[in-house]
């Protein structure tokens, strides 16, 4: 634990703030529709605001810690806001705030249940971000699983129920494997579950076989949420079934919770030199590469917009894991920063998909001819983010790919660069058609053959409700702004570089 | 198939038990652990500590009084259980009840029984009262009273015998054994010792032995009476006719 950890109750308050919306729902469940919904939004707004107030403290290295409960001295639930935790919580709260505002007008039935579980899920994930040891992380991680289940089956259609069921099966299995990993870690690390800055486990306590089993069970446990290839089954079903704000959060944040877990395991539990010594990072890298390539190929074949975005999420999250597996300074930097970048980009894409669904009722890409003209702003933001995903220069996507590439060079493993290029190509292959169909095709154009027919006018007026569009525009702007001025203090680069420099001097 | 399997299991258990019994300390020789460890103290000092000639009664009521309290609770629990399963016969007279005794009996048997029952009850009172002097004691007496009532019921039928010992008499007495035990135990507490010590509070030193004996007798009577009433109630509950059971079930 860094010495400068001051006791403060702020992390606890940040976690409890979203529960305001729960109180609002209980206070006046039936009447005062407007007030109740805005109170729910207020909950996540307040927590993001309070979190942001911690930024100056974090920047000069202070950490805030509070002990919630304890079973035995070595086994306690403690919340600590260190730089990595703060970084993840920042993007988490930001995206959640936008999604809550978005879903005020998006959700049309069963508001109470949706917002209640939305708030609970947010507080649990914030708990994950702030957890000081693996015990707390696991507790919030499990509660998050059962908090997010109702979000997925909100539509209560048979497809949603089956997707929810599949999600539960994967999550429960992952939970059990993770549980074993943590108990083994507690046993072999003889009681030390905390997050040391250079990793806690070491070879003189436990045998090599024990450490490898612990690592792989952790990888499997978190891998299900981080959608590593063999364990990704639930993602393509859950995303289309869930309402758009929920699926935006799902891929933007909940998948990242798994990835964040792996980051904690690699940096704080094992430490990079122990990983290198055990040689387990190779397996991680191979899995990540397979996932990137195969997921992108699958994405090509999907006609449903959300399923395609889901597969692309699976690929993108594996970028983070690939970055970690390189065990190089730039690679780790790129990987951890991609956590935020992907959240911004994919969040925006899903929200746009939501708007398309609401306004035009279209789900599949093939039917989306001329959508760009009906919903110009949404589709422009969609294109910006799509281009960013492909890694075009001014955007955040480009930074990640650039850092991962330089990381691969540092780790002298050129094969990663090839993987990156292939995946960039595949990204282009499945995003460009969407933009092309949206803007360069419109209904009735193929009837007259190749002749020039009247091009529909860009209609700006009839855009969707402003509460839907504003989050999309903010995200799209951020994607570009963070890309260009990346070393502004509050942005990801400043925080992550601080963490990575400690680990890779 | 089940028969063969269980036969094999029982045979195996039997061989195991016989093997174990063979390796046990030899029966009857004074050096075995059972005869050397705790018993000498009981046999020598039982009399002046519990003031009873019959060591067994001393052990039952004094040294291991808690066991007997448990035992009395077991018999009360049995009664409650039987009544829970069969339901107690309705209060008051047992109307509409055929005076048919389970066993056909001639006048010779009736007169013999009418002659014998008082003597049996006399004998059982004797057994209860001198429990600490010679073999016998509370529960044996109770069982014998129960036995006498059984003969009476088999010969004269339930209607006759339940008229002799109505439910109103039996109900309060059934719990008497446990209550007496608890009172004597609490008395011991008041007298300064632990629960179930036989001591009369602030009694003169000299008077102490006699009081302990009287307390033991009191407990014996309590157990005898309680035991008898419980046995009789169980018997009456079981003998009741079908339509009676159907009504209260």
């Amino acid at each position: 634990m860094p010495d400068k950890s001051t006791f403060s109750v702020i992390p606890l308050i940040v976690i409890l703030l979203p529960w305001i919306s729960l109180l609002a729902i209980l206070a006046f469940p039936k009447k005062a529709e407007r007030l109740r919904l805005w109170l729910c939004a207020l909950g996540s707004l307040a927590s993001f605001g309070l979190l942001f107030s911690l930024l100056p403290g974090i920047l000069d290295g202070k950490t805030y810690t509070i002990k919630l409960a304890s079973v035995v001295e070595s086994l306690e639930m403690r919340l600590t806001v260190d730089t990595l935790g703060f970084y993840f919580a920042l993007i988490l709260a930001f995206l959640w705030m936008l999604a809550t505002i978005y879903s005020i007008s998006y959700i049309d039935h069963k508001h109470n249940r949706f917002f209640a579980f939305m708030a609970m899920c947010e507080s649990f994930i914030l708990g994950c971000a702030f957890s000081a040891n693996m015990f707390t992380y696991f507790i919030f991680y499990e509660m998050m699983t059962f908090g997010s289940y109702p979000l997925i089956i909100h539509e209560e259609t048979t497809i949603a129920r089956r997707a929810g069921y599949k999600y539960l099966v994967y999550a429960v299995a992952a939970g059990t494997v993770l549980f074993f990993a943590i108990v083994a870690h507690y046993f072999w690390g003889n009681g030390e579950l905390g997050f040391g800055s250079y990793g806690v486990l070491s070879l003189e306590f436990a045998s090599r076989a024990a450490l490898t089993t612990i690592f792989f069970t952790y990888l499997a446990g978190f891998g299900v949420k981080a959608a590593i290839m063999p364990l990704h089954g639930w993602v393509p079903d859950a995303h289309p079934a869930a309402p758009s704000p929920a699926s935006a959060l799902l891929s933007g944040v909940i998948l990242k919770a798994g990835a964040f877990g792996i980051i904690r395991v690699c940096f704080n539990v094992f430490g990079t030199d122990l990983l290198r010594e055990l040689g387990v990072y190779v397996v991680m890298a191979v899995l990540a590469c397979i996932t990137i390539v195969v997921a992108s190929v699958f994405a090509l074949t999907q006609d449903n917009l959300k399923r395609r975005l889901a597969y692309s999420s699976i690929g993108q999250v594996s970028y983070i894991i690939l970055g970690l597996a390189m065990l190089a300074h730039d690679g780790a930097l790129g990987g951890v920063m991609h956590l935020t970048h992907h959240a911004l980009m994919k969040g925006c894409l899903f929200l746009c998909a939501g708007v398309i669904l609401v306004k035009t009722g279209k789900k599949n890409i093939s039917e989306m001819a001329g959508v760009g003209y009906q919903l110009p702003i949404t589709m422009i933001c969609f294109s910006v983010c799509a281009l960013a995903m492909m890694g075009t220069p001014p955007s955040v996507g480009f930074i990640t790919k650039w850092l991962l590439g330089s990381g691969a060079l540092q780790a002298s493993l050129p094969v990663y660069i090839i993987i990156l290029l292939v995946s960039a190509l595949l990204n282009a292959a499945y995003f460009l058609p969407i933009i092309y169909i949206a803007f360069f095709r419109w209904e009735g154009d193929e009837v007259e053959g190749h002749g020039e027919t009247h091009r529909p006018k860009l209609v700006f007026g009839k855009e969707a409700d402003h509460k839907l569009v504003v989050p999309i525009v903010i995200l799209a702007l951020l994607v570009v702004v963070v890309g260009i001025w990346s070393n502004v203090t509050g942005f990801p680069y400043s925080l992550v570089s601080r963490v990575v420099n400690v680990i890779f001097p | 198939m089940k028969r063969v399997l269980s036969l094999f299991f029982i045979a195996a258990l039997g061989v195991l038990l016989l093997y174990v019994v063979a390796s046990m300390p030899p029966m009857g020789d004074p050096q075995t652990p059972t005869a050397t460890h705790v018993i000498p103290r009981y046999l020598e000092r039982a009399e002046e500590e519990t003031h009873t000639e019959n060591v067994i009664t001393g052990v039952i009521l004094n040294y291991r009084g808690y066991d007997t309290m448990g035992e009395v609770t077991v018999i009360f629990c049995a009664l409650a259980a039987v009544l829970a399963v069969l339901g107690r016969e309705r209060r008051g007279r047992i109307r509409g009840f055929v005076d048919r005794s389970p066993v056909p009996s001639s006048t010779i048997v009736r007169t013999m029984v009418r002659f014998m029952v008082p003597f049996i009850i006399l004998f059982s009172v004797y057994t209860i009262l001198h429990g600490e002097i010679s073999p016998g004691g509370g529960f044996q007496g109770g069982a014998i009273i129960g036995g006498s009532m059984i003969i009476f019921t088999t010969v004269f039928g339930l209607y006759e015998s339940s008229r002799r010992i109505p439910q109103k008499v039996r109900a309060p007495l059934e719990g008497s054994a446990v209550i007496v035990f608890f009172l004597v135990g609490a008395l011991g507490l008041v007298g300064g010792g632990n629960f179930l010590t036989y001591a009369w509070p602030h009694a003169a030193r000299g008077l102490q032995p006699a009081l302990v004996t009287w307390l033991t007798v009191l407990v014996e009577v309590g157990i005898g009476l309680g035991g008898a009433m419980v046995l009789i109630s169980i018997l009456f509950a079981m003998i009741r006719e079908e339509e009676e059971i159907a009504l209260t079930a």
Partner: protein, 494 residues
Amino acid sequence: MGAWRHFPIFMITLPLLGAVLMPFLGYLRERWVPYAALLPLAASTLLGFLLVGRIPAGDHLSYHLGGWEPPFGIEIRVDHVGLFLMLVVCAITLLALVYSRRYIEKEVSPGRRTAYYVLYLLMSGAMLGFTATGDIFNLFVFMEILALSSYALVAITGNRNAVRAAFKYVLMGAPSSIMVLLAVGFLYSVTGTLNMADLASRIAESGYTEVLVVSYILFVIGFGVKAALFPLHMWLPDAHSIAPSPISALLSGLLVEVCAFALVRITFSVFTRSATDLVGGTADAVGVAAAAAVLYGGIMAITQKDLKVMIAYSTVSHIGYIFLGITAFTAEGLTGAMYHMLDHGLAKACLFLCAGNFIYLKGYRRIEELRGAWRQMPWTCFAFALASISVIGIPPTAGFISKWYLILGNIRAGKWLYTIVLLSGSILAAVYCLRIIYYMFFQAGKEEAWEDASRDVPPGMLVPVWALSLGTLFFGVFSYLLIPSLLKASAYLL
């Protein structure tokens, strides 16, 4: 030493005395019996809480009945773990008694209500006596009271299947009690004493190993049937599903645990560590049986249609958990087993009482009938969900802490197979519990199923249910109250 020395014996005798006095009250004023029955149990619980501070973790309170010191007289021996279990017993019996007042009016015919309360108090008193006694023959006597009252309480509803299930329970329970008596006889023949502490020292140096091994086997079979360990559990599903709900809550939540605790005491305080080679062989057999119990119980629970039968099979599975903790022979394993007794007791009692609520209000026993139940009975359903989360072992609840220590104990003991069995057991638990929650919350019920009354069961039945489910949550979050002292106590026992 102050007056608190006498508290344990009063904790045990008050319910028994209450039971004996109940028929008088029943004869005079039938209506007061349910309320009067609360008095002795409340007194015992109060005495228990007063005792909490008195007994330091490593030490024990020894109370010589009748003033005779142990090998000659009977001794009540309450150590920290024992007191902890006695408090659990008091709490759950009190709550189930509050619950059963209204439930019994509907389920049991008028003639038998007093008998119900008498048997209930006898059972609770016997459980307290059973946990506290320091003498193995006394253990047998109290076990017999327990057995008798539970046989009758299963059959008290009087309908065809209840008596048949009770008789099946008698046919399995009675021979097992006799086996325990025989085991006590074997121990006595070789050592000459009946007091547990004295026995422990004399067993360590007595030469007759065959007699001791066979007597331990008989103890395991005897208590195995009572604690429904896997091959000997056939009576449990019928008995627990047919018995009135407060009773099956008591049987499942407590009786099964108390017998497991008795086996723990016999294994650790009588056949002490030094005699592990004696106990070793049978302990592995118990371990294998427990592992089989976890899987069998889980699988059978999934396939059940009747709610209470499903919960009964989950008890069979969770008893396997407890025995896996015991046979690991490590301090953490034992702590896990102990804590699981608490958690399983609370959660299983809550599940059965919720099932009782469904039966009481609508007479629904099968799981399909519970579709969309939460619309009309929100309180019961939320309590049910919370309790089943503890049964699965999801973090905030006590089930998670006990599962943590069970697995830690097994890892420390190097028993990998049992760890995997425990994990798969918790997956099975997740399957059958979440299936019920899925039916209740996320399924639309048939229109006429839940339409009429908008109210839930009367508060008299809801308060105990919620007290139990919040108890599991409370012991999950505030586990530091018990776990450190439990760890020391199990180290002391080992």
